[in-house]
C-alpha cells in the first residue's frame, strides 16, 4: 500500500456561538487507505464533515481554524460544489437522488454529456442536446466497476432502497477527479448481504487508489474494514488506532469513557416489584427514530434513563407512547390497559411529555408564558375554566395568572412577567416552561426527551436538578431520554440502551464504560439480558 498523504485535516478547531465543538482535530487519509471515523452523537463528526464539504453553515457561523490540505495544497471550501470540483466525493446518509429520473440521469446529474446542435452554436452551451447514449454508457461503466448489474435506464423511484447507496457511489466515481470518498453511515439502511457487498465496494475503491473515509456506528464493520481508525470524543481525537490495534471493546470504551459526576446521591431504593407502567411490543413509526419491538417495565418512583445512538429509536419511545406518532403494542399503567395513539387519554391518565423538539412541539413560540403553561391542562383536564352562564364556559384569567406566577417562582423562570413571549426567553428558561407545562398536568409519569439540548452549561445543571427535585419531592416517575450518556449516568437510577429499535439492555449508572459502549454499538451479546 502506498503511503502518500491524500487529505490532511490539521488542528481543526471550530466553535458555534462560543460553544467549542472541535478542538485540534487532526486526521489524515492516505492514498488507497480506508480510514474509519467513529464517535458518539455530538462528538463532532458532522461538524468535521461540514468543514470538509464547505457547507455554508460553517462560513455563516464564523468559519474554522486549522488547515485542510489536499494533495499538499491548502484548500478552504466555501460551498459544496467547490469541494466536489476538488475531488471530494460524498455519499449522503439521506439519499440525494431524484426519484423521477433514471439511474443514469442521476449518476450524471448536472454533469451530463452533451452534443452541439444548430441552436447551441447560436445561443450557447446550455442549448446543447443531452447525449443520452453516452450518459448511459458512462453510468453503465461506473455501475460495472461496482459490480452492479441493474438496468441504468430504470427510474430510481421504483428501485429498492439498497440500490440507492450504490447509485450514489457510482455517481461519485463517475466524476473523473474524485480523490476521496466519504461514506456517512452507509450501511445503516442496507440488509446484511447488501452491506457485505457494499464493504467490498469500498475495498475495491481503495484498491483503485482512492482515499475512503468511513463513518459508521457499526463497530464490527469499522474494525474489519478500516486500515486506521480515528476516535472522536467531545470534539477531540482521543485515539488513532491501526489495524490490529483496534477491537470493538477498545473503541467502545474510548468513545464513551469520561468522568461521571453523580448529581444524585440517592439512598432511596426503587421498588423493583411494583411496575407503574408495563410496555410490551411497542413499535413506533417515527421517521428516523423507529422503534421496532420494545419491552420494558417502569418502576414507581424511579428515574429511568433511555440512551442509544441517534436513529436507533430512543426518541421514538416517548413520542409513541404519548401519541405523537403512530404506535402499536400494549401499555398497562397501574394495572389498567391503555390503547396507544390517543394523546388526550395519556394526558388524562396523568402522563406528561416534554418533547425533544422544544421549538416545534414543546412551545407556542409566539405566545405568552402563561398560555404555554396552561393550555395542555386546560385542553386535556379542563382546568383553568369557569362557567359564566350554563351554556358558556370560558378561561379563568385569575386562576391562570396565579398558577403561572407560582410556576415562575417555583421553577425560578427568569422573565419579565407571565405575559412575556416565550421566544424572547433563553433556552434554559424555555425548557423550564416546557417542564412547567408538564407539571401543570400533575403527572405521575413524566417523559422528558433531551432536556438539556441546546442550552448552556449552567442552565443544564439547573434543569437536571429540577428533574431530581420533582422526583424526590413530588414522587414523579421520570423517563429521561438523552443523547448525552454522561447526563443520564449523572441522574438516573437505571439506564436502558436502545439499539436498532429494540432494548439492548439495562445498566446501572455506575456500570463500566465498556458495557455502555458495547451496548450502544449493539455488541453486548448476551450479557445484557440477565440484568433486565
Amino acid at each position: 500500500m502506498e503511503s502518500t498523504s491524500l487529505l490532511k485535516l490539521d488542528k481543526i478547531c471550530k466553535s458555534y456561538y462560543g460553544n467549542r465543538v472541535l478542538k485540534d482535530v487532526c486526521l489524515e487519509i492516505k492514498k488507497g487507505e480506508i480510514h474509519g471515523l467513529v464517535g458518539e452523537n455530538g462528538a463532532g463528526k458532522s461538524t468535521l464533515m461540514n468543514i470538509l464539504f464547505g457547507m455554508p453553515v460553517i462560513q455563516q457561523t464564523g468559519g474554522y481554524e486549522g488547515d485542510v490540505v489536499l494533495e499538499g495544497n491548502q484548500v478552504c471550501f466555501t460551498c459544496p460544489s467547490e469541494a466536489m470540483d476538488y475531488g471530494i466525493g460524498m455519499v449522503h446518509q439521506e439519499f440525494m437522488l431524484i426519484p423521477g429520473f433514471t439511474v443514469a440521469e442521476n449518476i450524471k446529474l448536472n454533469r451530463e454529456r452533451t452534443k452541439p446542435n444548430v441552436i447551441s452554436r447560436l445561443i450557447g452551451k446550455k442549448m446543447e442536446t443531452i447525449d443520452v447514449q453516452r450518459n448511459r454508457h458512462d453510468a453503465r461503466a461506473s455501475l460495472d466497476r461496482l459490480g452492479m448489474s441493474f438496468d441504468e435506464m430504470m427510474p430510481v423511484g421504483g428501485l429498492p432502497v439498497g440500490y440507492m447507496q450504490f447509485i450514489e457511489v457510482a455517481r461519485e466515481i463517475d466524476k473523473e477527479n474524485t480523490k476521496v470518498v466519504v461514506f456517512d453511515e452507509p450501511t445503516a439502511v442496507l440488509t446484511e448481504s447488501e452491506a457485505e457487498q457494499f464493504l467490498d465496494t469500498a475495498r475495491k475503491l481503495a484498491n483503485d487508489g482512492l482515499g475512503v473515509l468511513f463513518i459508521s456506528h457499526r463497530l464490527d464493520e469499522v474494525v474489519s474494514l478500516c486500515d486506521r481508525i480515528t476516535v472522536l470524543r467531545d470534539g477531540e481525537v482521543v485515539a488513532l488506532l491501526n489495524r490490529g490495534e483496534a477491537s470493538i471493546q477498545r473503541i467502545a470504551e474510548l468513545m464513551v469513557g469520561r468522568q461521571i459526576n453523580r448529581l444524585a446521591d440517592r439512598k432511596k431504593t426503587v421498588q423493583v416489584n411494583k411496575p407503574i407502567l408495563e410496555i410490551r411490543n411497542l413499535a413506533v413509526e417515527m421517521p428516523g427514530e423507529k422503534v421496532k419491538e420494545f419491552d420494558l417495565d417502569l418502576y414507581e418512583g424511579e428515574i429511568l434513563g433511555v440512551g442509544g445512538l441517534a436513529g436507533h429509536g430512543k426518541i421514538g419511545i416517548a413520542n409513541g407512547i404519548m401519541g405523537m406518532y403512530p404506535a402499536t403494542g400494549s401499555l398497562v399503567k397501574q394495572g389498567k390497559s391503555l390503547p396507544l395513539g390517543d394523546t388526550m387519554l395519556m394526558l388524562q391518565e396523568n402522563m406528561a411529555f416534554v418533547s425533544e423538539d422544544r421549538r416545534g412541539v414543546g412551545l407556542l413560540w409566539d405566545e405568552s408564558i402563561e398560555h404555554n403553561i396552561i393550555i395542555a391542562a386546560m385542553q386535556s383536564q379542563k382546568k383553568f375554566l369557569k362557567r359564566v352562564t350554563p351554556l358558556l364556559t370560558i378561561e379563568d384569567r385569575k386562576k391562570i395568572h396565579e398558577h403561572t406566577l407560582k410556576m415562575i417562582k417555583d421553577l425560578d423562570i427568569r422573565c419579565v412577567g407571565p405575559q412575556q413571549l416565550v421566544k424572547r426567553l433563553s433556552g434554559g428558561n424555555q425548557q423550564k416552561i416546557c417542564i412547567a407545562r408538564a407539571i401543570t398536568l400533575s403527572p405521575d409519569i413524566l417523559f422528558v426527551s433531551e432536556p438539556t439540548r441546546g442550552i448552556d452549561i449552567g442552565a443544564k445543571r439547573i434543569v437536571l436538578d429540577l428533574l431530581l427535585q420533582l422526583n424526590r419531592d413530588l414522587g414523579v416517575t421520570i423517563v429521561m431520554t438523552s443523547s448525552e450518556l454522561a447526563e443520564l449516568r449523572s441522574v438516573c437510577d437505571r439506564i436502558a440502551i436502545i439499539y436498532e429499535g429494540r432494548l439492548e439492555g439495562v445498566l446501572p449508572p455506575d456500570a463500566p464504560d465498556l458495557d455502555f459502549g458495547l451496548m450502544m454499538a449493539g455488541e453486548f451479546e448476551h450479557k445484557g439480558a440477565d440484568q433486565v
Binding site: P99, L159, P160, V161, G288
Partner: protein, 368 residues
Amino acid sequence: MIPEQKELKPNTNSPLIKIKRKLIEFAVPLLFLVLCIIGAYYARLQPSFLINEIIMRMARNPVLVLALIIPVLAGMGMNFAIVLGAMAGQIGLIIITHYEVTGITGVTVAALIAVPFAIVFGYLTGKLLNRAKGKEMITSMIFGFFAVYVWQLFFLVFVGSIIPMRNEKMILSTGVGVRNTVDLVGIRYALDDIIKIRDLPGITIPISTLIVVALFCILITFFMKTKLGQDIRAVGQNMEIAAISGINVDKIRITAIIISTVLAAWGQIIWLQNIGTLNTYGSHVQVGLFAVAALLIGGASVAKANIWQVLLGTFLFHTLFIISPTAGRNLLGDAQIGEFFRVFVAYGVIAVALVLHAWQKHSAAKNK
C-alpha cells in the same frame, strides 16, 4: 432520516391492470370527450361549421397553452401569470397599429417588439415566484390580477398624457387613454392567410398558422432535450437535490418563467391576428384561466404536462366552447346556460385538478 424499505412495484404486465391504468390516466380527457359528443349531438350544429371552428381554434390557441408547459416541468405549477405575456404581445400589436405596420411584416415586428417586454415581465414574475416557493400558483394568479389593473391604469391614464400617442383611431376623444377596442384590421389573418386551403365548402384551413404551431411544439420538445431542459426537469423534481448538484435553482426557475412569458406573448399575437380586434382591457384577462383549463382537460396535472396534452386539451376545451351555448339553448331553452356552463367547466376543472394534486402531495407527505 433513514428511508424506509420500499418494495419493488408489483408486476405491471397484466393486461387488465394496464388497461385500467390507461383508463385512469386518460379519465379526464375521456370524460370531456363524452361531454363533447353529447354536447355536439344536442347542439345540432352544421358539421362543416363545427369542423371549421375547431380547425380555426386549433390554429390560434395552442401556443398560449404551450406556454404553460415549461413552468409545470420546472415544478412551478400552472403559470397563471402568462397574462403578462399576453400583455407583452398586445403592447407589440398596439405599437404596430399605431405606426400602421401591416400584414405579416406587422405581425413579425409586433412579435419582435413583444420579446423585450416579455423578458422583463417574465423576469419580474420569476423573481416574485422565487420569493414564494411552494405558493407559486396563487402568487402567479394574484400577480396576473395585479397586472391587469396596472395595465388599465397605464393605458387609461398614462397613454396620451405621459406617453405621447396621437392616433385618433386608437385614443379616446379626450386625448388620454386607449379606446376600448383597437381594430387590428391591418394584420387580420396576416399569418393565417400566407397559406390557406379553401377547397372544402365552408372550411378553411390556415396551414401557415398550423405550421407555426407545429414548429413551436417541435421547439419545446427539442428544448426539453437540451442541457437547460434537463436542468429545468431536475429543478422541477427536487430543488434541493438540484441545488446540491450545483444547478442554480433560482436562475433556472426565472429562465423557465421568461420562456413561458415570451411564448405567451407570441401566442397572444397569433390569437389576435385571427380575432382581428383587440379588446384593450379584456382580451388578456381570461388568457391564464382558459389556457390552464385546456391543459388540465387534456390530461395534464399541475406537475406533469406534455405536448400531446396541450393539443388534446385545446381540442376538447374549445369544442366544448363552441357547442355549449347552442347545446344549452336546445337542451334547456337558454343559450346563457351554455355560456355559464363553460365558464363553470373552466373554473371547476382547475379546482378539481388542484384539489386532486394537493391531495396526492398531502398523502405522499403523510406516508413518508
